[in-house]
Amino acid sequence: MKMSRDFDNDDRELGVDAQVGEALKNFRSNVQAWGEAEYGCPRPARTVRAMSWRVATGWALSCVVAAGSVSGAVYQRHHQRELQKIAAEQAARQQKLEAARHASTDDEDLLAKVDSDVSREVPSAMEPLAQLMSDSETE
């Protein structure tokens, strides 16, 4: 087995100066001492425990609840948007109808006014004479 060596040209090329070199030597001594101390020491068996079924069930339920909440919220939002869309469409249709109705009543009023203004039986200047004629007819 190789024992510790001094730093060679490769190390100097890589930039191992006196300070780094000393730290690396100490580090090597540290790891070697630690490794030798721990090597072959009797130790209790490593415990690897899988998740208990309770924890697993808890996780599964939490996941289901979280997924349900998220999908519920998404559905709710989608549904609300649909309703808003339908309401907006209905309002637009109503407004259109209202406007059309309004337009037709305006036309009728105007025609009636024109009729009342224009369709006189005699011109206004002849009105007294017409009245006299009607009086004589009644007599």
Binding site: M1, G15, G35, R43
Partner: protein
């Protein structure tokens, strides 16, 4: 450069030669490999994970896997390189599986950085030097914690396990250039962490 005891590369053919191609001797040879490298593999995994139990488990898995595949070990690299490669892949698999099994509660024994920094041979140091060394080690640990998995692996192989760049490249399956790039970035972070304390 590398000084001290150097492990002779142990090849399958060498094992078979010495074993006279009998399964029993191959088993003995494998036992020798385990004895020779178990500490090093455990130490690397311990430094990499900072989890004693996990390092122990991965070390056992590493040698179990090595034992199953010992017959197919062609000896193209040293036994240490082969074992370290298995260990690195096992660690990678462990973290990948752990990410996939997020619902599983596993009690981790990840050691605190301060606790990890406590392990220092006292040697001939004064109390002050010991304190300074501990502080330095703490900063290196903090930097190591911030490294990416690949940077950490390369850094630990180089500066804890004293591996050559070519060996690290073989162990990680990276090119030497990529290993150097990772080391450079890792050292940059260590340097920044050390300067940050001043």
């Amino acid at each position: 450069m590398a000084a001290g005891i150097v492990l002779e590369p142990m090849t399958r053919s060498a094992v078979e030669e010495s074993a006279g191609q009998t399964t029993e001797t191959a088993e003995e040879e494998f036992s020798r490999v385990v004895q020779a490298h178990r500490l090093q593999i455990f130490r690397f995994l311990l430094a990499s994970t900072r989890d004693i139990d996990l390092a122990e488990t991965l070390t056992q898995d590493c040698f179990l896997k090595a034992h199953r595949n010992w017959g197919s070990f062609r000896g193209e690299s040293s036994a240490m390189t082969w074992l370290m490669r298995i260990a690195i892949n096992l660690e990678k698999d462990h973290w990948r599986n752990r990410r996939m099994q997020f619902w599983r509660h596993t009690r981790t024994n990840s050691v605190d950085l301060d606790e990890a920094s406590d392990w220092l041979p006292s040697g001939e140091r004064t109390a002050e030097q010991q304190m300074l060394a501990k502080e330095q080690v703490g900063h290196v640990w903090k930097a190591v914690e911030k490294l990416s998995a690949r940077q950490r692996t390369v850094f630990l192989l180089r500066y804890v396990e004293d591996q050559e760049l070519s060996e690290i490249a073989q162990m990680t399956g990276l090119s030497e250039g990529t290993v150097k790039a990772h080391l450079s970035r890792a050292l940059g972070k260590v340097r920044a962490q050390l300067k940050g304390r001043q």
